[in-house]
């Protein structure tokens, strides 16, 4: 019974991994609000304190990793990255989290971490506001809070590690598509839901970038698979019937791209219609191997976790306070700079193809 209605969320169950992650992704706050803006100055409130860029990272920092949901492969890979980073700085790593992706159970775990006196909390928020007061309590108890993947209200955390910028995501997808279809021809977009903010932002940027860089590429339509496997599958089929000259499909959602790949691989269009977008290597491996898909993109969640852990350690050590313009070292990944609103950008998305796909397991 408990889980009766989570079914809606899990209907595309198998694909719930990075999708869940992407729903809130780059748009910092997914909440509808009434009235004025929602305090964009947040994250800088620690700026009053002074940073000491040369401070040593103390040993034995207790760094806790709190994903949206435990046993989610996407977050598990991110946790691997965090754990590696924590090992490099001789800290103590722990991963805790709820078995269902709800904000209320995350609050319970944040409270536990507060009580245990964690030095750093790395978390991906199930709700941008619901975990705020719990995070505030953790911070007043001395913890540094770093969000990654899905941000909270900027006022409730010290830093947000953004996996990629909207521009980076849009350009990578258009470039990958252009490479496959020779920069010319009809292309359609298979999106998630019609009102998904991040999707719409990307689609807008993709359209602009394509018009600018590849004038012969024509984006004919955007259809919505609602992040449901079956619907996405049907929409793919519909696209190919409606546009017989279609050269390619871009699906910036993991559910969409894998459903589209599944349709293409079993149809006569396999190899004739290009497909790219945002997908996970494990979901797409088969379709890359059988030639349905040449290349697709996603950020590397392991790097995301790795960077988040280093950012947390830098905060705890006092190297940075979360103010714009501060810089810190993140192990193998090199130096990063804190941007506006306490946001650190991981970098460009990784492009996966037959060459490198076997190096990734998520």
């Amino acid at each position: 019974m408990s889980l009766f209605l989570t079914s809606r969320r899990v209907r595309g169950g198998l694909t719930g991994l990075a999708v869940a992650a992407m729903v809130l992704t780059t748009a910092a706050c997914g909440g509808t609000t009434r009235g004025e803006d929602e305090g964009s100055s947040g994250g800088n409130d620690a700026a009053g304190a002074s940073a000491d860029p040369d401070a040593e990272i103390p040993a034995d920092l207790a760094i806790a990793f709190l994903p949206k949901q435990l046993n989610n492969p996407y977050f598990d890979v991110a946790a691997t990255g965090s754990e590696r980073a924590v090992g490099e700085i001789d800290g103590e790593f722990s991963q805790v989290g709820p078995s269902e992706a709800s904000a209320s159970s995350q609050v319970s775990y944040i409270n536990t971490l507060t009580q245990q006196g964690a030095d750093v909390i790395l978390t991906s928020a199930n709700d941008p506001n619901a975990i705020c007061s719990a995070l505030d309590q953790a911070r007043s108890g001395g913890a540094s809070v770093v969000t990654f993947d899905s941000d909270t209200d900027p006022a409730c955390r010290d830093l947000f590690i953004n996996q990629a910028t909207a521009e980076g995501i849009a350009q990578t997808q258009i470039d990958t598509m252009a490479e496959q279809i020779g920069g010319a021809g009809q292309v359609a977009i298979l999106s998630a839901t019609a009102n998904a903010t991040n999707q719409n932002t990307w689609i807008e940027l993709m359209t602009e970038y394509a018009a600018q860089e590849y004038p012969d590429m024509e984006i004919v339509t955007t259809v919505y698979g609602d992040d449901e496997d079956e619907k996405s599958f049907q929409e793919t089929q519909g696209l190919l019937q409606t546009y017989p000259d279609l050269k390619g499909i871009i699906s910036p959602t993991t559910v969409g791209i894998s459903a589209a790949a599944r349709y293409l691989s079993g149809s006569e269009y396999k190899g004739r219609v290009a497909l790219t977008g945002l997908g996970t290597p494990n979901q797409m491996r088969e379709f890359v191997q059988d030639g349905t898909v040449t290349a697709f993109a996603l950020w590397n969640p392991e790097d995301l976790g790795y960077l988040a852990a280093y950012a947390g350690a830098a905060l705890a050590a006092g190297q940075i306070t979360g103010a714009e313009g501060e810089t810190f070292e993140a192990g193998d990944l090199g130096e990063y700079e804190v941007g506006a609103d306490g946001v650190v950008v991981l970098g460009e998305p990784t492009v996966f193809d037959a060459e490198n796909i076997d190096d990734f397991d998520f």
């Binding site: 009766f4 209605l5 909440g31 509808t32 009580q115 209200d153």
Partner: protein, 339 residues
């Protein structure tokens, strides 16, 4: 689905009087167990016994205990309401929608409580006037109300409720760590306890649970009483929805998903028979606190959530199997043991 209006023939249920006699101890058993657990945890779990942790623990239990109050009365009469968590979600969604529409909370809260009453009345009407089994009805409304919550608010979240309200929701009394909200909850607990254990109404609820026909013949308006119980459960769930929204500062359609399991687990752990007719409020409160404390303590010693789920499930089954087995052993001489 043994939660039938006629509890007697279901499975090898022990005879009614024996059941009645057994249950008050069941409440005290769980209370004793709670006290023991708290003592053991206080000494063996680092960070368990502190005012801050007590506050965290109680905040997690408040809504469960709140909804358990009217639901206990319903279970005592032999019915069930599985739609409570969906009512919380729908009320939370409507609260968010009205807030975005510009209404003040002073107007929204009464409206939402009325909505809760209506949702409860729908359950009550279907059960008492159409004579439909409450289990099936409330599985239906569990889906319906949650679905409507998503229709109302989609997968959006509404967040910017006034700070005064949201901070009150998590404030504590002075430096004791005890959440302020515990005070009104205690008032409701006492009120419900008095109604259930010290008034004719309470006695009539047990009578209905033991034998609906007998209750009817002794002049109790069974249908009307049950209808009102469902209405009250709706209103209290709505109150839970308001509190949930303020506590987390976020109105969402999926708020409190699955909470019905925890509420029912607390009630059954507390020694209330799912067949109706027995159980007491003290045990239910102890049951809610025990579930909350076990989770809290296991989280503090970093037990993974998978194991927590297994523990919850096993606890729930044990709570129901144990008294049944005990009764069987006791009654072995009098009854033929059931297959």
């Amino acid at each position: 689905m043994t939660v039938d209006t006629a509890p007697a023939p279901a499975a090898p249920a022990p005879a009614a009087p024996a059941r009645r006699g057994r249950t008050l101890p069941a409440g005290s058993v769980i209370t004793t167990f709670l006290v023991l657990f708290l003592v053991v945890a206080a000494f063996s779990v680092e960070g368990f016994a502190s005012t801050r942790n007590a506050g965290f623990l109680l905040l997690d239990v408040v809504v469960i205990a709140l909804i358990a109050l009217p639901l206990t009365l319903i279970v005592v009469t032999g019915e069930i309401d599985l739609s409570v968590a969906s009512t919380v979600g729908l009320c939370s969604a409507v609260m968010g929608r009205l807030w975005v529409a510009g209404l003040p909370l002073e107007a929204i809260v009464p409206l939402v409580l009325v909505l809760g009453g209506v949702l409860g009345a729908v359950n009550g009407f279907l059960v008492t006037r159409l004579g439909l089994p409450s289990l099936a009805v409330t599985i239906g409304t569990l889906a319906l109300y949650r679905g409507l919550a998503f229709v109302v608010l989609g997968d959006q979240a509404v967040a910017d409720f006034p700070r005064a309200w949201t901070t009150w929701a998590i404030s504590s009394i002075g430096s004791t760590g005890i959440p302020t909200v515990v005070v009104p909850l205690l008032v409701l607990v006492v009120l419900t306890g008095v109604v259930l254990h010290a008034t004719p109404i309470g006695r009539s609820l047990y009578a209905m649970g033991n034998s609906e026909d007998a209750a009817r013949f002794s002049g109790i308006d069974v249908a009307r009483t049950k209808l009102w119980l469902f209405v009250v459960t709706g209103v209290v769930s709505a109150l839970g929805g308001v509190y949930w929204t303020l506590r987390y500062g976020s109105a969402r359609a999926d708020n409190a998903t699955g909470l019905e399991l925890q509420v029912i687990a607390a009630i059954l752990l507390g020694g209330v028979s799912i067949f109706g007719g027995s159980g007491g409020l003290l045990g239910v409160i102890a049951g809610a606190l025990l579930l909350g404390s076990v989770r809290n303590a296991l989280q503090l010693v970093n037990v993974p959530s998978d194991v927590l789920n297994i523990v919850t499930g096993v606890l729930l089954i044990t709570a129901v199997v144990a008294p049944q087995v005990a009764a069987r052993v006791k009654g072995r001489r009098r009854r033929r043991p059931a297959s």
